[in-house]
């Protein structure tokens, strides 16, 4: 058997690491996936190759995060390796070592935001973003689309790419009014430098295969056709599965495989998904086959009955309505941005962020400078209920010379603000400062 697309599998189950012994993010999580992949003989398919992950360095994390108090204090080996898995996947694809790559790594990352004090939704650092910003150092002009198919809103990835027009972020997830982390409304469209490049598709509970594929066909694919990214990354969380213990959706292994065939991502990254016996073995296998361009028609959960998990007409109508609205937002993004930001020189975004795993409450204010020549400098002021405080200044990759100067000035100015830590992320020169 030969893969139609060569596929690099960065399969790293981290069999010797858990958040804690009974935590869903424990050693056992990918054990049954490994059993299934081995028993199916995936390693013997010509064109599918197993790669070990790279190991991210603190500098790779600094490129994305304001880590408090510093990277090494909160990031463990397992996180460096999970992010390194994504780096390896992107390296393999960009160097044409393989057509596509799937980083089946743990722990996940899509809840980790720019400021990180610790663990949120099992994530400490955003592994997709660390990987992507790493590969952008080698390929600076990449236009990238991240499609987050995890059941939870990818609020971390949204925060990181909020103001970056070269990174289109689309998340579909169970409606935030019914599930952690609560965000992900359609109205969250992005910062002034990238308004409309952040698309949320909140779906009603009990959405089934039909609904997910409707969103794909009627929103995601048309938007991608329009945006024309150089690279598509699928944040492939598997908790939309009908057996997932933490969520209420009805997606199947067949559905996930079909979605990946149609989406045709260059790189997929495992995110959440904690039905480790009933879903992951089959969903992962389905995604592997779909990405490799192989027949997945016989992949199915032993207990799957299509009729049982079919969505209701009511759900169908809701999904159709949401899809129409999101597509309209995309098509009208320029006009909407003009209305939203007309006459403004700066946009301020106050937020509260709760770290469920670490039990930390953060209060922050993000300030986005509006610049006609680039996405503009932005600053985060953050304090948390443990007494931490920081100011983080970001100079975007695409920054114009005056915004570059402005960034350094703001970093100097922050010294007088009396915060415990201040950070400067100069992505335009790949330089990072903290004090």
């Amino acid at each position: 058997m030969k893969a139609n697309n060569s596929l690099g599998l960065i399969f790293f189950p981290a069999f010797d690491w858990a958040i804690s012994p009974a935590h869903p993010e424990r050693e056992e999580r990918l054990l049954y996936t490994q059993d299934q992949l081995f028993e199916e003989g995936v390693e013997d398919i010509e064109g599918i190759n197993f790669f070990n992950p790279s190991v991210a360095r603190p500098a790779d994390v600094q490129r994305v995060h304001f880590a408090y108090p510093d990277v090494d204090s909160i990031v463990s080996e397992s996180h460096y390796i999970a992010a390194g898995g994504v780096m390896r996947a992107l390296d393999a694809v960009m160097s044409k070592e393989t057509d596509k790559a799937f980083a089946m790594v743990r722990p996940p990352g899509h809840h980790a935001q720019r400021v990180t004090y610790g663990d949120r939704g099992f994530c400490i650092i955003n592994i997709e973003a660390v990987g992507l910003e790493y590969i952008r150092q080698k390929h600076p002009d990449l236009r990238v689309a991240i499609i987050d198919t995890d059941c939870h809103h990818g609020d971390g990835t949204q925060d990181i790419y909020w103001n970056d027009p070269d990174t289109l972020f689309i998340s579909f997830h169970q409606d935030g009014r019914t599930l952690y982390p609560g965000t992900g409304d359609m109205s969250e469209l992005g910062g002034p430098g990238a308004y409309g490049y952040n698309l949320n598709i909140p779906l009603p509970p009990n959405t089934g295969d039909e609904g997910f594929l409707h969103v794909l066909d009627n929103v995601v694919l048309p938007v991608l056709d329009d945006y024309k990214p150089d690279l598509i990354i699928n944040s492939a969380g598997q908790d939309n599965h009908y057996t997932d213990p933490l969520t209420n959706m009805n997606f199947s292994a067949q559905g996930y495989a079909l979605l990946n065939e149609k989406l045709n991502p260059d790189v997929a990254v495992l995110e959440g998904g904690y039905s480790i016996e009933g879903a992951l073995p089959y969903v992962n296998l389905g995604i592997v086959l779909a990405m490799a361009g192989l027949d997945y028609s016989a992949v199915r959960e032993p207990d799957y009955h299509e009729a049982k998990w079919r969505q209701s007409q009511r759900v169908t109508r809701q999904v159709e309505e949401i899809s129409r609205q999101v597509l309209k937002n995309w098509e009208n993004r320029k006009k909407l941005a003009e209305e939203e930001f007309r006459g403004l020189r700066k946009v301020t975004l106050p937020r509260q962020v709760y770290y469920d795993t670490a039990g930390i409450m953060e209060t922050q204010r993000q300030e986005f400078t509006i610049c006609g020549d680039c996405p503009g400098v932005n600053v985060i002021h953050s304090v948390n209920d443990r007494g931490a405080s920081l100011i983080g200044v970001q100079i975007p990759r695409q920054a114009c010379p005056s915004c570059q100067r402005e960034g350094y000035r703001l970093f100097e100015e922050a010294a007088k603000a009396g915060v415990k830590r201040r950070f400067l992320q100069d992505r335009s020169n790949d330089q990072y400062f903290a004090s």
């Binding site: 199916e40 027949d295 028609s297």
Partner: protein
């Protein structure tokens, strides 16, 4: 005294070894159409002046199964597969008598759906109409739960005596390989049985009653009784015999090293990590079929002492073809051996002819004769070393699954190269030049394969799986399926695995001090299921360490007149 016979493609070697000391060595040519006769003549030659009562065991490295598979001279196999959901593999090379059963078992070993027993009647009729000779029955995830395979077998037991069940061959999870391995096992079962019967009859006529052991591709041996059940394990034991032979001829050292066997047409490369050979990650490949048969990892490259040398656009090209022997040994075309003979590194029958061949080749390339010969030798050594580098790069990238292995895993960095074969001594200098590593070679390399066959130890590997939630324990290789209680833990599992592998070793004739059992992999996973508390999923692999029955002491010169 151990009697060993090593059957290669062209030669058959036999030796007598007493407590690690070589007693006698005999080499014959193989008559390909009469393998049994070839063995027999060689044996008679070996034993004509020996006391047969002294023979305590017979070790046989045989190509009967390998040849049967490669030449397609196999039994007609009826194959029954229960694939269930998953990848649609191509089953094209499993013959015409292939049937699929409904139903499936999942990764936990839970039967998700039963097969339809009514289908079996029709399958049996079809097998009988088509004169099927042996059966292979394979179900996905059968090592986790063999019941389906066993139930199907019981339906056919009255009609067939040669039935291979997938789970009995290996505890490793890989359904397509299990399918191919079971098919091959069933395909060669009759061939091997006939061979074994002839062998036993002939030995009996000679009043030799010592137990017979067959060499396997993992460098170990297996007793004849087990080999009759799993004849597929006897395939491709040639490279393993040569590996064992090389390791017998060199003092044991616990270091990373490269072993080379430089033959006429090819060079075989083996890699040692801490003195232990690398194995094929899953199993060996034969006849374009990937199997679960455990094998010493060896890579064969088309470069040998007799490789054909010619010029190609002003460049020297060596191999991979062989066009007869070296000029120095009466051949027609230039070979690396001729270059070595010309440079005085090796002796030849016709050194002048070798010199003439090199000189004319050198003038073709406008080169000085000596420079040309040196260039050939350098190129030859460098090609071998490049291949070694490729292999090391690949094996050092083998997938790992724990943080400890990824961050602190040992990379293999060879400290020495150990070489056998005709040009070994002559090439040692060039290999050293090219690698900077210590290069050593033994005397009497000709005896390596037969000595390897004689000293190889019975080996076996088992996989234990235990799940306290389902309260099951299994060791598929020994057909052990038992229930455990909820308190069962990793230490108990390791203990059971060691005792089980030791029992298997003892059954194959190993004494207590030869067992050398070890745990090769062991893990225990917390299973958290609702509020029911913690359960454990335990996986342990244990083996009888491959190795030598005795240290080899080449104190006697080989020769027919040296017997006692």
């Amino acid at each position: 005294m151990i009697l060993a016979i090593d059957m290669g493609g062209t030669h058959i070697d036999s030796v007598l070894v007493r407590q690690g000391e070589l007693v006698k060595f005999v080499k014959h040519e193989v008559q390909r159409n009469d393998l049994f006769g070839s063995i027999w003549h060689c044996l008679q030659d070996l034993l004509q002046d020996q006391d047969k009562n002294e023979i305590s065991r017979i070790h046989l490295s045989t190509t009967v199964c390998t040849n049967a598979i490669v030449e397609g001279k196999v039994s007609k196999v009826g194959v029954i597969l229960q694939s269930g959901p998953g990848i649609n593999w191509d089953f094209g090379n499993l013959g015409d008598n292939l049937h699929f059963l409904s139903g499936s078992t999942d990764h936990r070993g839970v039967v998700a759906e039963d097969f339809d027993p009514d289908d079996l009647e029709a399958i049996k009729k079809s097998f009988q109409q088509n004169a099927v000779e042996s059966l292979a029955i394979i179900s996905k995830f059968s090592p986790r739960n063999p019941e389906t395979e066993k139930e199907i077998m019981s339906f056919f037991a009255d009609a067939y005596s040669e039935i291979t069940l997938g789970h009995s061959l290996s505890g490793k999870l890989n359904y397509p390989r299990r399918m191919q391995t079971a098919y091959l096992n069933a395909a060669v079962a009759n061939t091997f049985r006939t061979f074994a019967r002839n062998m036993l009859t002939a030995l009996k006529q000679e009043n030799i009653t010592a137990p017979i052991y067959i060499l396997k591709a993992d460098g170990g041996t297996v007793d004849l009784g087990s080999a009759l059940k799993r004849p597929v394990e006897t395939i491709l034991s040639g490279p393993a015999a040569s590996y064992t032979g090389i390791s017998a001829l060199f003092p044991a050292e616990n270091e990373d090293a490269v072993l080379l066997d430089i033959g006429g047409t090819t060079t075989d490369i083996f890699i040692l990590a801490d003195g232990i050979p690398l194995f094929e990650p899953v199993g060996i490949e034969i006849d374009h079929r990937k199997t679960l048969v455990r094998a010493v990892y060896s890579v064969s490259i088309g470069l040998g002492g007799d490789s054909y040398i010619r010029a190609d656009e002003g460049e020297i090209r060596i191999g991979p073809e062989r066009r007869g022997p070296a000029v120095a040994y009466g051949g027609e075309v230039l070979t690396p051996t001729d270059a070595l003979v010309y440079l005085g590194l090796m002796s030849g029958k016709y050194p002048q002819k070798a010199e003439m061949a090199i000189a004319s080749f050198a003038s073709e390339l406008n080169m000085d004769t000596e420079a040309c010969a040196a260039q050939i030798v350098t190129q030859f050594s460098e090609s071998i070393l490049r291949k070694i580098d490729d292999i090391l790069e690949r094996v050092n990238k083998n997938p790992v699954y724990t943080i400890k292995e990824l961050l602190h895993g040992q990379q293999i960095t060879p400290r020495s190269i150990k070489v056998i074969g005709g040009p070994a001594q002559a090439l040692a200098g060039a290999l050293y030049e090219a690698s900077g590593l210590e290069v050593t070679f033994p005397k009497n390399y000709e005896i390596a394969n037969a000595v390897g066959a004689a000293l190889a130890k019975p080996t076996t590997e088992i996989s234990l799986y235990a799940n306290t939630e389902r309260r099951i324990l299994s060791i598929p290789e020994l057909d052990i399926y038992e229930s455990i209680d909820r308190s069962f833990n990793q230490a108990e599992a390791e203990n059971i695995a060691l005792r089980a592998v030791e029992r298997a070793g003892a059954a194959m004739g190993l004494s207590a001090d030869q067992l050398d059992s070890e745990i090769t992999e062991s893990s225990s996973f917390n299973m958290v299921r609702g509020f029911m508390g913690r359960e454990r999923n335990i996986r342990v692999r244990a083996q009888i360490r491959p190795g030598l029955l005795y240290d080899f002491q080449p104190t006697r010169e080989r020769g027919k007149d040296e017997s006692e």
